[in-house]
């Protein structure tokens, strides 16, 4: 059983890796952002006029906006005119062989059991062999189509289902929502689109692993998931392998819409290149993720395991508009070396009888900094709204830090908010107890951390949970220092 899951996993991974290399175009635009560049992006993708206008409005809004500075993050200013926005024909200026790749990175690949050719793909080394995976993809597509589920690249959706995209795009995260969302709206290149019609339970977990033709989504990814009345979908995003990327800035937008009695489960494992042990390099990840429980009794849950990136700025949120709807946020964020994470959620209760749950686990090691920032807002019509929040931080050593910043606003007298928070050093007595029983220090740390994170890991789909545990172990190797 476990082995079958693993084999499937391997197949899926290969598809994903292969997907990376479809449709590489040769032309590159000069760095810099302008109306002209946005017109070129749109023209190249043969987009309808309304979408171009939508992009341009976002761009003009963005020009008037300022980069947010309120997060507990420190980084060099980003030069937005030095970035090439014209859809990412991936430069082949990366390392020419694995010998030139950060040996630490290779070590991690070994430990995660990633095949050699895939290591090359992930670290950006040019490879000739491309896996042919069309048959697998076709099988999946057929199953989904029979169920009536639309799932594919964002670009395909714009071509094939423009009315759906137009009806929902930007209705959860409007282009002017924030600086990074505006930038994404102006220049997004691709992403995923998923539509589950009324009464349909999506017959499989949707994973970006087999998003065959949605390659080059990279830097400015856009995802839109809509589930109609009574539908259900579980969507997995990401990969446990640390992915090297020449693009330092990532600004993705994810929008979820759940109508009456619909449920969306969205799981992420994010392990982008965190920079080296001295804090050099690494991805800046500024993501806007928001789901709207638009219908009555609809449910949205976010589960995330964040171990990568040098900078993480991310607050997957739920807008609870429908009466009796519920939002959940389960998060593990690990920072080590010089990684910084400012992450959390917003639960905005608008409708009556809405409920939300927040479980956040932060693990810091080295000089890592880990902040939980969360907002629970209950509006004037949110009668009988309830929230439970629990934010725990685990510190592995002296140089790291953890911060918890909960914001609570309740505008209806019947609102009920519970908040628990704890911060603790990894306990010497727990380590000693485990070691006396025969575990090495590292095994003991893994066991204690995995216990600390259990509430979140159990929310992940099964194969993902196994990988997530392995990833935590690899990430925290030698973390006691």
């Amino acid at each position: 059983m476990a082995q079958q899951a693993e084999e499937l996993e391997n197949v899926l991974r290969k598809d994903y890796a292969a997907g990376f290399y479809t449709d590489i175009e040769a032309d590159t635009a000069p760095p810099g952002l302008s109306e002209e560049i946005i017109r070129r992006i749109s023209a190249r993708k043969e987009e309808p006029e309304w979408l171009l206008e939508w992009r341009l409005r976002a761009y003009h809004g963005w020009l008037k906006m300022r980069e947010p500075r309120w997060a507990a993050l420190r980084y060099q200013p980003i030069d937005y005119q030095a970035i090439s926005y014209y859809s990412a024909p991936r430069t082949r200026e990366g390392p020419s062989s694995l010998d030139e790749v950060d040996p630490k990175l290779l070590e991690t690949y070994e430990k995660l059991g990633i095949p050699l050719h895939e290591q090359k793909l992930l670290s950006g080394v040019a490879v000739d062999a491309v896996f042919d995976s069309v048959s697998v993809a076709t099988t999946f597509k057929k199953t989904l189509a029979e169920a009536g589920v639309i799932f594919g690249s964002f670009s395909d959706a714009v071509r094939e289902h423009p009315e759906l995209v137009r009806r929902y795009l930007g209705t959860v995260v409007p282009p002017g929502d924030n600086f990074f969302a505006a930038l994404n709206s102006a220049v997004f290149t691709d992403g995923s689109f998923c539509f589950v019609p009324a009464g349909v339970r999506c017959p499989m977990e949707l994973s970006t692993y087999f998003r065959i033709n949605a390659s080059n989504t990279g830097q400015f990814e856009r995802t839109l998931i809509v589930v109609e009345d009574g539908g259900w979908v579980s969507y997995l995003e990401g990969c446990t392998a640390p992915m090297r990327d020449e693009n330092q800035l990532h600004a993705a937008v994810v929008e979820l819409v759940a109508l009456d009695d619909a449920e969306i489960k969205y799981s992420t494992v994010q392990n982008w290149y965190p920079g080296d042990a001295n804090g050099v390099g690494g991805i800046y990840n500024f993501v806007t993720k928001r789901g709207e429980c638009r219908g009555r009794r609809s449910r949205i849950s976010w589960t995330q395991v964040e171990t990568g990136s040098a900078i993480t700025w991310k607050y997957p949120s739920c807008v609870l508009r429908g009466a009796g709807s519920s939002g959940k946020f389960y998060s593990i964020a690990v920072t080590r070396n010089y990684q910084q994470a400012d992450t959390g959620t917003k639960m905005v209760h608008i409708g009556p009888d809405t409920t939300s749950t927040i479980i956040s686990k932060g693990v810091s090691a080295g000089h890592g900094s880990n902040a939980y920032r969360g907002l629970v807002r209950m509006g004037p019509r949110a009668r009988n709204a309830r929230n439970y929040s629990c934010c725990d931080s685990l510190l592995m050593n002296k140089g790291c830090s953890a911060h918890t910043m909960p914001y609570v606003e309740v505008q209806h007298p019947s609102g009920c908010v519970e908040h628990e928070a704890s911060t603790s050093r990894i306990a010497e007595d727990q380590l000693y107890y485990c070691r006396q029983r025969g575990l090495s220090e590292e095994e003991a740390v893994n066991l204690i951390v995995s216990g600390f994170c259990k509430q979140v890991i159990k929310e992940l789909p099964m194969e993902f949970a196994v990988e997530a545990r392995k990833l935590l172990a690899v990430t925290l190797e030698g973390a006691l220092g």
């Binding site: 000693y432 070691r435 029983r437 025969g438 095994e443 066991l447 216990g451």
Partner: protein
């Protein structure tokens, strides 16, 4: 089994053990008794390798192997088990999970094949009978929400599964009611074999009424004050430690 010679141990600047000599043969059960602050728990933890102690001098060998130079997990692999006075809680990790990881880590260190889930469960069920451990407790977080008695029974269960050569039980009898004490004692007796030795560290004689020791040592002020058979434990119960200490100081005085 274990041979301790002139062991001197300090915490910071303060000397706690001032030259302890102790020898426990294979299959023997020895009790170390003594008043509060005499160094009983220090002795247990220094043998198990708890960080924070400084060994000033002396040595301790387990089956001929130098204990004091090893990491705690190496000592465990060499066959040493410590039953904790205050067993630690590990939230989110079930008893079964800890025990399985521990057992397989020990087996790997000894170049034995790890047990799979089925073999492991069969073993735990078999051994769990010794301490009448309800299966529900095994699935709970390690010592999480356990009563004092349940924690101590859990220690005995771990000992039963890990099968140490030398089990040091640190005040396992403290905080137990009469029934729990009997269950724990039965567990210990069931595990008494010619190849396994015990060092029972205790303040009272209670446990020793159920587990008959081969030898009793009185630890006082960081030294073994006197040693004897089971009757010594009864003498402590009747006379108290002060009386013994006075007699001993007279003895020492007369020798000098």
């Amino acid at each position: 089994m274990i041979e301790i010679r002139q062991l001197q141990v300090a915490v910071g600047e303060q000397l706690i053990l001032r030259g302890v000599d102790l020898e426990v043969g294979a299959g023997e059960v020895h009790a170390v008794m003594g008043p509060n602050g005499s160094g009983k728990s220090t002795l247990a933890h220094v043998l198990a390798g708890m960080p924070g102690y400084t060994v000033r001098s002396g040595q301790a060998q387990l089956r001929g192997v130098d204990l004091l130079s090893m990491e705690p997990e190496e000592r465990a692999a060499a066959g040493l088990f410590l039953g904790f006075q205050y067993p630690v809680e590990i939230p989110g990790i079930s008893n079964l999970q800890l025990l399985k990881e521990a057992l397989n880590a020990l087996r790997l260190r000894r170049s034995e094949k790890p047990l799979d889930a089925v073999e492991f469960l069969a073993l735990v069920r078999k051994r769990g009978r010794f301490v009448r451990m309800p299966e529900e407790l095994l699935r709970r977080g390690v010592n999480e929400g356990f009563s004092g008695g349940e924690k101590k029974r859990n220690e005995i269960l771990q000992m039963a599964v890990l099968e140490p050569r030398l089990a040091i039980l640190d005040e396992t009898d403290s905080g137990l009611d009469v029934d729990a004490l009997r269950i724990v004692a039965e567990g210990i007796n069931a595990l008494r074999t010619p190849g396994r030795s015990f060092l029972l560290i205790t303040h009272y004689q209670r446990l020793l009424q159920h587990v008959e020791p081969d030898r009793v040592h009185i630890l006082s002020n960081g030294r073994i004050l006197c040693s004897g058979g089971p009757e010594l434990a009864r003498a402590v119960e009747e006379q108290g430690y002060e009386q013994l200490e006075e007699e001993a100081s007279v003895d020492v005085g007369s020798v000098a």
